[in-house]
């Protein structure tokens, strides 16, 4: 379906601006804290809308290479986790550690790009 404008990302931007400028100044204490969490949650949704298509394709491509067959991302990821759990795959096997790191960095780019461990990992992986 081709939805019309505003895009989902634009709607979230409008909601964020409303909360930030018209609601936040009136709040104190626990409610102000919860509003900050709400705004951070909307930031995640905005980044997810923008970044997930490319990240999901890359993640699926890596899983196909490791597992040696095609499938949906959900199915491949469930199989990958099961094979790690059942010791059919290990972190030292070809591509496994690299895939785990790449996928986790992609999650962080959406969920917690400010996290110090993300910067540490990026610095290492781009050396």
């Amino acid at each position: 379906m081709a939805q019309n404008k505003p895009t989902a990302a634009q709607l979230i931007g409008a909601v964020k601006a409303f909360l930030e400028h018209e609601i936040k100044p009136d709040l104190k204490g626990n409610k102000a804290f919860n509003l900050m969490v709400a705004l951070k949650s909307l930031d995640i949704v905005q980044r997810e809308l923008e970044l997930v298509p490319a990240f999901a394709a890359a993640e699926r491509g890596r899983l196909v290479a490791i597992l040696g067959h095609d499938g949906s991302l959900d199915d491949l990821n469930a199989e990958f986790a099961r094979r790690l759990r059942d010791r059919e795959l290990g972190i030292d096997d070809p591509g496994v550690a690299q895939h785990l790191r790449a996928t986790t960095l992609e999650k962080l780019a959406i969920d917690q790009p400010q996290y110090s461990g993300y910067a540490q990992a990026l610095a290492r992986d781009t050396q």
Binding site: I91, T104, K107, Y115
Partner: protein, 333 residues
């Protein structure tokens, strides 16, 4: 009687009756306010009012809705209160517990303790000039206090689980499996932990959440250790691992809570009578701590999804799980 009052007005009414009964000389309360944060439990600050002037107090209680099926990691409030009393007797800086709630009090499960003045917000402790002296003192204090925790006499305390390394890994593997949501990093971590279990050690009291954020800090350093809800009997190295993981450094490069060096805390702990520190075992417990942090994030989401607690923070925290995943990978790859 309201079974579990939740509004400030309801809590105030029930709490006033408790204070009149339990605290000699107090005839009322003032300034009741729920504190933000606190994770799983509710903390309320207030003053007891009496002829001797205001008495700063905290009501700590379990929310009515903590009993979401997945939440199996907290000791009961009465156990926590007894642990604080025993820890204080063993020399652990602790608030004074004044009263443990009874069902007839109508406030749920919890206790009243004296409010220790100081700061708990980690970034302020790491940043503000007034805590410069505290930062210099806290590493050695962490080591000495941990040795004192491990001397606490826990005999006869009800509902304090015994969880040596193998049992603890199995417990969190079960928590992870019950989510039925793949996190391949967790599968790799659990397997690594199972392959690197430390040998059984002399069991001691483990605080379970021993880290920057659960220390009440004054300019002089640590004034009290709080939040004993994840405590259990277990391995003496476990709290050292939790203390040092990256999430509790709050962007500082210093591994001990963002304020200290590993070798300094190990030395203070050993000098105060702690067990010999095995660096490999601490590393095991750091990997475990990262896994535990990530799964606690998931448990918050489970509470949110169960409908038992609508707080937005519980949902948001689920998107912090990736912090534990990258910390695990930074340790293992």
């Amino acid at each position: 009687m309201v079974a579990h009052p939740s509004s400030t007005g309801q809590v105030e009414t029930a709490l006033t009756a408790v204070v009149r009964k339990a605290l000699p000389g107090a005839h009322g309360i003032a300034g009741l306010a729920r504190l933000s944060g606190g994770g799983t439990q509710e903390n309320w600050a207030f003053d007891g009012v009496g002829a001797d002037g205001p008495l700063p107090l905290i009501l700590r209680r379990a929310p009515a809705n903590l009993q979401c099926a997945a939440w199996t990691i907290s000791v009961p409030m009465a156990t926590e209160a007894e642990l604080i009393r025993r820890a204080s007797a063993a020399g652990v800086p602790s608030p004074l517990v004044r009263y443990v709630l009874r069902p007839s009090d109508g406030l749920g499960a919890g206790y009243l303790m004296e409010r220790v003045a100081g700061e708990t917000f980690p970034r302020r402790i790491l940043r503000d000039a007034e805590y410069a002296g505290a930062r210099a003192a806290m590493t050695a204090q962490c080591g000495r206090i941990l040795a004192a925790i491990q001397r606490v006499d826990t005999r006869g305390i009800a509902d304090l689980p015994v969880l040596p390394a193998a049992a603890l890994v199995a417990k969190f593997r079960g928590i992870y499996n019950d989510f039925h949501e793949p996190h391949p990093v967790f599968d790799a971590a659990i397997r690594w932990l199972e392959d690197h279990l430390p040998p059984p050690a002399q069991p001691v009291l483990v605080h379970g959440d021993y880290r920057n954020g659960n220390f009440i800090v004054g300019p002089d350093g640590i004034r009290a250790v709080i939040d004993w809800e994840f405590s259990h009997i277990g391995d003496p190295m476990e709290d050292l691992g939790w203390l040092c993981i990256n999430v509790w450094r709050f962007d500082s490069p210093l591994p001990v809570g963002g304020f200290g060096d590993r070798e300094a805390v190990y030395a203070a702990y050993e000098e105060a009578g702690g067990a010999p520190v095995d660096r490999n075992h601490v590393r095991f417990w750091e990997v475990f701590a990262c896994l535990k942090y990530g799964l606690i994030c998931k448990l918050f989401v489970a509470r949110h999804e169960s409908g038992s607690d609508a707080a937005i923070e519980l949902a948001y925290v689920g998107r912090r799980t990736c912090e534990s995943e990258i910390d695990i990978l930074n340790l293992l790859t």
